[in-house]
Symmetry: C2
Subunit: 352 residues, 2 copies
């Protein structure tokens, strides 16, 4: 009974074939984009549409022996702002390729744990694994990476990862462009809050800031470069320190949005109006950027597209049984101008 009912509603490749007056093979050929005669093509396509046929992906995978799943490593704390768009991109791609997504949690500090999670993923059938930022940088260092014949792709590492396929933006160029934009707005004293030295983005983002200043022949004032911890609090502290300088900055560019938000609130606490007396810019375009007032000028990653590309690389590698070539694929970032930045104030800031 149950079986009968199930069967009654199944539109299979066979149903379509009969409807179109061809063999199931021809339907399969059309479905998979192989060359068929025009009239066959037309008949099949009509039947497909009329019957509202959907291929059974389970059958497809079983028959083709193809990759059935890819894995993603997740941080247990789930703190990362880009996680939702990353997962959305991942799901877009897994939906598209008809592969199952399996997830495993692993702490980012513990490489051993991360490798155990990767192995668990492969044991569960993952043909490849996506490595989020943080963990990918640590894992790229390990000797195991070279040995493995597993398909691994690093997502948004903070720097180039020799020997590992990765998808990222050019952090250096983005930071350089943001700094140039502030210079174009006539700011001449631009504070910079770096990432902690341990992160891959420390060097690339700070380097971009320095490069923009160098390009204009400007001197570096080391009082205007402070190290942050990527959180609101350290951004607040660094900004407060800079703003209390005898010769304070008219703009502050932070290595991420959380620190920029801290700078914004620090300015407000000191009675400094943003953007009229101080411009503030961040990096990452996290949800926080538009939650504050004024909303933050920041650097946007094409997170969804990056994740889609990464999964595509993974699926392709897994299907061909050859690990992805260890190259970095750069996707383009954009500078998002919002109300937190503007022309350098006419009235010079207090003090000095």
């Amino acid at each position: 009974m149950k079986r009968a009912s199930r069967r009654s509603k199944a539109v299979t490749i066979r149903t379509v074939a009969k409807h179109a007056g061809v063999s199931p093979m021809s339907v399969s050929n059309v479905l998979n984009g192989r060359r068929v005669m025009p009239e066959t093509q037309a008949a099949v396509e009509r039947a497909l549409a009329e019957l509202d046929y959907t291929p059974n992906s389970a059958a497809r995978q079983l028959a083709s022996g193809g990759v059935t799943s890819v894995g993603v490593l997740l941080h247990p704390a789930l703190e990362q702002d880009f996680l939702s768009p990353m997962l959305v991109g991942v799901l877009n791609a897994t939906s598209k390729f008809g592969v199952q997504l399996i997830v495993e949690r692993a702490s980012y500090d513990d490489v051993t744990e991360a490798w155990a999670a990767v192995r668990a993923l492969t044991r569960r059938g993952a043909g490849g694994v996506l490595l989020p930022p943080g963990i990918c940088e640590v894992m790229a260092l390990g000797a195991e990476t070279a040995r493995t014949d597993l398909a691994l792709v690093a997502f948004a590492p903070g720097r180039d990862l020799p020997g590992m396929a990765s998808v990222r933006i050019d952090d250096f160029a983005a930071a350089r462009d943001m700094t140039s934009m502030l210079l174009d707005q006539r700011h001449r004293r631009i504070g910079f809050i770096t990432a902690p030295r341990s992160l891959g983005v420390f060097e690339s983002r700070r380097g971009g800031y320095l490069a923009a200043l160098h390009a204009r022949g400007m001197e570096i004032d080391h009082d205007l470069i402070l190290e942050g911890q990527m959180d609101f609090r350290s951004g607040f502290a660094a900004a407060a320190e800079m703003l209390n300088l005898a010769n304070p900055p008219t703009a502050i560019f932070a290595s991420n949005d959380d620190m920029a938000a801290g700078a914004l609130v620090a300015a407000r606490s000191l009675g400094i109006d943003v953007p009229n007396a101080l411009s503030v810019a961040g990096f990452d375009d996290t949800p926080l950027a538009t939650k504050l007032w004024p909303p933050l000028t920041t650097v946007r990653f094409p997170v969804i597209e990056m994740a889609e590309l990464a999964i595509e690389m993974l699926v392709e590698a897994a299907r061909s049984h050859v690990p992805p070539p260890p190259v970095t694929r750069y996707l383009s970032y954009s500078i998002v101008e919002r109300a937190s930045t503007g022309t350098e104030p006419k009235a010079s800031p207090p003090a000095s």
Copy 2:
């Protein structure tokens, strides 16, 4: 060659059966938890472990004719804070049940578009669809809901949805408990920032606040109840208005974290110290709550567990071909106390 290599590494149910000296059927029975003789069980389990066998889920699904996918509707703007943990919970469950997750984007305002997305999902093979907050409330109103025999589960609607299966927390009780906690901390003037009237949570959260005050026989001061728009800005504005009152509140409870964050910053702008001169509490435990300083006391949803449960309901309904019973499953919330709240200030606030 390729085929051979693929085959060489496949550990199938047949391999296991030979290794254990039983038939494939017995292996299948053990795998599916059916009764077998103890010695058969033991032999199979040993073989399973020694061979590190993983079932091929594609084959499994094909053979059992089971549900192969469930769908999730996503808002194109992806703004929602709970999206990552929701997706993580969804993925935990889909991984566990071996079903494919497919996603479709649909605007939350447009019911027609939402229904089209649901149909697209089912056409692509989804046996059921998870409806996120916002859209589920709107869709529950439509006549189509009653007509459909599709498995639908509402995730975290702001209020009870008659006729639709849903998973949520008791917003009313949570708001009541938070308010009671503030009362226990000796606050006697507690401001409340509501959600906009159009949202399901407007009534439930405000109701909880009022109930807590009533329970202590306290009078309601309508100057302390202001409507917000769920964003930072409206929280800022509402808090600023209350704090400029002749008799300002010593605590402000906002219907979500974004508005609580706005209240926090408003207080700081006015030179009011949090928590020493003002306590601030939010709702939702979004990432923002711990990014600010002081971090926000708030109400936490078990988002991951809720999503897992919702997918479980969906899979079960789809597999049994009977829509999920239209009941609300409540999961327990918790009040997370952080540094933004504390005992009522000894020194009375300024003014009055």
